[in-house]
Amino acid sequence: MRRAWLIGFGWLLALGIGLATAAGREARPLAADPALEARVMEIAQELRCLVCQNETIADSQAGLAVDLRGQIRERLAAGDDRAQIIDFLVARYGDFILYRPPFQPNTWVLWTGPFILLFLALAVMARVIRQRRMHGTADDEVLDEEAPS
């Protein structure tokens, strides 16, 4: 008799905890295959939505973006790799669709520019320091170390 009470109480307890917690049916993921979807989004993040004012194909809800995501998904599922999918889209829409400009003659300046700029700037800086060291005015003023900058 006591055992029946205990069992019944145990069930009630479980039921009570179940109601008080987040228990409920598990929502299904939107994508049929979340792993594939993640790869689709990875590629789509670097592609430009052509009908939008500067958005990626991953973020945009425009019709063309949804269609192109679908194309990417199909091709990935069929076994194409990232490079093939990019080629597919560039053949139809041109380099404009890529947010990561490919490294080719008309983007050499773009990709190397910042580092050439840095190199030049550091070279100028080195020359300035050398110039100062040799010709700069000497400063005999007493500088308190804790003087504010």
């Binding site: 194309q71 053949a91 139809r92 829409y93 404009f96």
Partner: protein, 175 residues
């Protein structure tokens, strides 16, 4: 050192020059990478009779125009008049690509406004459109005898465009 003080001004003048040129350009205008390349091949049902499949290969050997349209496309109504006039001239066959539309709506649209096309191909899911690099509606392609795309225009056609650009091009292609 002192000559170098003129460098910032020089750099700025170059920048201004580019910006000035930029004012005349349209950053949204997208040239097609398919110009002078073979038009994508396709096999699509005809809007007139959905059980009949039209093949792009059938159109080889002639110069023809493909106009991408849809019943939900507002800008297509703008160019409709110019298209009807052009079709009446009978310079080259005009075919339509019915893009991401519903068949019933498409037929009704043609019946109500007039059908300038020899026939329209039904591209319900837009795949053939993607093959053509379509990103908006309407768009128009000029295709030559060997099946190569020679010209593309995105946006509604105007009588001036047809008269000054497309017709001369058709003439040059020996239609």
């Amino acid at each position: 050192m002192k000559k170098q003080a003129w460098l910032p001004l020089l750099a700025f003048l170059v920048l201004i020059a580019f910006l000035g040129v930029g004012l005349r350009l349209d950053p949204r205008e997208l040239p097609s990478p398919l110009i002078d390349r073979p038009a994508p091949s396709f096999a699509l049902p005809s809007v007139e009779a959905m059980d009949r499949v039209r093949n792009s290969g059938d159109l080889r050997g002639q110069v023809w125009i493909l106009n991408v349209w849809a019943s939900w496309c507002v800008a297509c109504r703008q160019e409709h008049g110019a298209l009807m006039a052009f079709a009446a001239q009978q310079a080259v066959p005009l075919y339509g690509l019915n893009y991401k539309d519903r068949h019933g709506d498409a037929v009704r649209w043609l019946r109500e406004r007039g059908d300038p096309y020899v026939d329209s191909f039904f591209d319900g899911d837009g795949r053939v459109g993607i093959d053509f690099g379509v990103y908006g509606v309407p768009e128009t392609f000029l295709i030559d005898r060997e099946g190569r795309i020679r010209y593309k225009h995105a946006g509604p056609l105007t009588p001036e465009l047809l008269r000054d650009t497309i017709l001369p091009l058709i003439g040059a292609l020996g239609a």
